[in-house]
Symmetry: C2
Subunit: 476 residues, 2 copies
């Protein structure tokens, strides 16, 4: 039987001003995790959220995570662990979000004060953290409150994990999740994360895959110190000359990775998958708009989506140690470090990929015949993640989307990585669903970040509806 | 008849403590031209020098140069124009030096306070500006004073031009030199600049050539803003991918410039020149020591000196706009600017060289088949300079070196550029001689800059002796 949701939905509509006020209060706290000077604000945000959760009857713990590894004077902000309900006859669902935000300053180019939620006539609610990730985090809280006020029984036991360091590498979180997989999270039957975005602006999606990321450094050194190019140019072998040749060998303009052994690891495209892309609500115009140019590798939607979701890519990010300022400086840098990363996909293995990279880079360098010294190593690695979109967790979410938005969702993957997804999957052994609230134009890490009022209010309905559907979806 | 110099030389020895004290007073004024906050110190240094020059009877003008172009609130320090003597029966010699210095801070790694001249038991006099260029500038002043105290007639009329912006691009100086070429400097018959260094540590040299420098930017842009490599990797053509390929095409590990039309412009080696290199006091050990490694292109002295002095070289300096900090950032930079320069030699023409560079870079980029946008342009250009080492100005200096140091000097060229050299040559139409005081290990722009006491005191003798020999050298 379809869940009875009309009363809940009406209550969400009736409380919409209250929910927007709550988001405004959250946005007003500049909980910038990357700025040590803002750490008290991050903690204040944790305390605000904990108090709001307690007020609706959740049991809440603020878990300390110790000191920040790269700043040992500084306490990490706490992780909020909360539980709402412990009815043995209900399913238990674990949700994750983060209450910290990216840096923001009006002078960066914001049209409004970034820490004042500013709602336009068109329903765009501008403010840092509005969509990433305070809106979705409050979504869960608002869903609880609306159920209570509507007198609708809350359909599940809700476990919540809200962290305050997501925008600074989620320091300390993996260890906590791994430890609590069989502890605080032990009775979770499925996981839902609302911290990503629709592929476009009109059609909701459920996300079941993410690429991994292996990040490499190529370090080439020779002279004992930086040199003057007038004095030494022509007599010394220059590390930068070698580095641009090595970096230039990795990938071509059309995105084709030149390193043997990478593409060979990629899972073949199945017939089922072949048919999947055409239906996705995505156009090349969408891509051109978000890219700000037409400098795409492909002309068509299908190869573009495949390149973003299911094929690896290699990007060269920059060079450390060389001259990088505006103007002219006639330096021969003594040691330069090229940075590049490979986005990984099924069935690529981290170790095998590393070995292919190291072997190729060393071979290219050897061919140069240079007396300089090469080092190549991975700065960090992270595996890709793909869930089954046919799992009951996804089926439930699909029904909730259809109920709230009147359309079936697209099933999407993403090109980026959300490492905590894989950590939750591995620590709990349960299916993880990515259920976005905001849309592709929200500008999560940019100036003028916003969340559309429609996405916020319908999103609160969606999170609640998902909990109803997931409560009764039949496990296969 | 050889000049009578014994009385002068003895007087320099007798005054050596006084001259070192004078250098200590000059070093104590932190006349850092690149630091706006130190501008009053630069002006104070000009006033100190002007007062010392007036005290020995020179007529002195402090010429204002207006505001600093990149900091229009800030007055440029004055150029000191001074004249000592105006006897129509004497030759008039123009000398140049600079009274500003590079930045220095103890915390950079200095073993001593950089603005306290510290004389070690081994005669090394450490201090910022000791060798670059306060020692040589005071050398001219000290030579005047020693002549007076020894009762030896000063052999020439001395025109002096001492600037305070040399370490920050000699702002405003070219215009003044060009204007005064037929004005204040009108009766100069030869020019002498003491602002470079011996090739090694034991043998004096006279320098008759400098390479020029053309500095280029290659700008490649595509997306409207920096992108996230997870979201866009594999779907967008990346400017950095194109740039490393373009930069990788310019020169190889062994210094061979790959741009057609560059080497073709280089003047052929003459038989006379062929025989010149073996006698130069320079060893590969010298090079390895200054390089801090053995990563040289050549194994032998002759090709090394030729590569430094008489062949062009191409160095890649860095990339603006890409990720350049330590750590990992998964950015796809939207616009990157590669910087490289070519050291130029006879008979390369600036315009022809630019055209070769632009054509080649555009061809390499076109072959990539990229949708990104390329711009290539010269940031600045400067011509090479070569004087005749057989000119009477050089012959006189050679005799002075032999008299003071007991050895004939090496005739050297340098790989770097001293643009003012060419400006003086063009503005006055006279021969310019580079007559160094310090040695290759002085560390002009490094920490622990020093001038050996021996080089300072014998250098004062040398400058005075040069003026005697140049006064009577027969003009051919």
């Amino acid at each position: 039987m379809a869940p009875q949701l009309d009363g809940y939905f009406k209550q969400v509509d009736d409380l919409s001003s209250h929910f927007i006020d709550r988001l405004a209060k959250a946005v007003a706290i500049p909980s910038i995790s990357s700025d040590a000077a803002r750490r008290p604000d991050v903690v204040r945000m944790a305390e605000f959220l904990a108090a709001e959760l307690k007020a609706v009857g959740a049991s809440v713990e603020l878990r300390p995570l110790g000191k920040q590894p790269d700043n040992p004077e500084l306490d990490l902000p706490p992780v909020i662990l909360a539980r709402y309900g412990s009815d043995k006859n209900k399913r238990t669902i674990l949700v994750y979000g983060h209450y910290d935000v990216q840096p923001a300053d009006k002078s960066d180019g914001w049209n409004t004060e970034p820490f004042t939620l500013t709602v336009g006539d068109d329903g765009k609610m501008f403010g840092r953290g509005s969509t990433d990730d305070k809106g979705p985090v409050l979504g869960w809280l608002n869903a609880i409150e609306a159920h209570q006020k509507a007198g609708v029984d809350f359909p599940v036991n809700l476990l919540m994990c809200f962290e305050g360091m997501e925008e600074y590498g989620s320091e300390g979180l993996d260890e906590l999740i791994e430890k609590e997989g069989k502890g605080y999270f032990a009775d979770a039957e499925a996981v839902c994360i609302s911290d990503n975005y629709w592929l476009g602006t009109e059609k909701p999606c459920l996300t079941y895959g993410l690429r991994g990321c292996n990040y490499y450094s190529v370090e080439i050194s020779g002279p004992g110190a930086d040199l003057h190019s007038g004095v030494f140019g022509g007599t010394a072998q220059e590390p930068m000359t070698d580095l641009v040749r090595v970096l230039g060998s990795l990938v071509d303009t059309h995105g084709k990775i030149q390193i043997p052994g990478i593409m060979e690891q990629v899972a073949p495209v199945t017939a089922e998958e072949e048919s999947l892309y055409e239906g996705i609500a995505f156009t090349m115009d969408n891509l051109h708009e978000s890219l700000g140019s037409k400098t795409t590798i492909f002309e068509d939607k299908k190869p573009t989506l495949m390149a973003r979701w299911r094929y690896p890519s290699l990007s060269i990010h920059g060079v450390e140690g060389a001259f990088s300022a505006p103007g002219a400086k006639t330096v021969i840098p003594a040691k330069v470090i090229g940075k590049f990363s490979i986005r990984t996909v099924p069935d690529m293995e981290i170790e095998q990929t590393n070995e292919c990279v190291y072997k190729f880079v060393k071979e290219v360098f050897a061919k140069l015949g240079s007396k300089n010294t090469l080092k190549v190593y991975a700065q960090h690695t992270g595996k890709w993640w793909v869930a089954s979109p046919n799992h009951w967790n996804f089926r439930a979410a699909g029904k909730a989307v259809e109920r709230v938005w009147g359309t079936k969702p697209d099933f999407t993957r993403e090109g980026g990585s959300i490492p905590v997804t894989l950590t939750f999957e591995q620590a709990t052994g349960k299916n993880v669903l990515l259920l976005p609230m905001g849309s592709s134009t929200d500008g999560a890490h940019s100036i003028n970040e916003k969340l559309d009022k429609r996405n916020y209010i319908e999103g609160i309905k969606l999170l609640g509806a998902y909990l109803h559907y997931v409560a009764e979806e039949v496990q296969e």
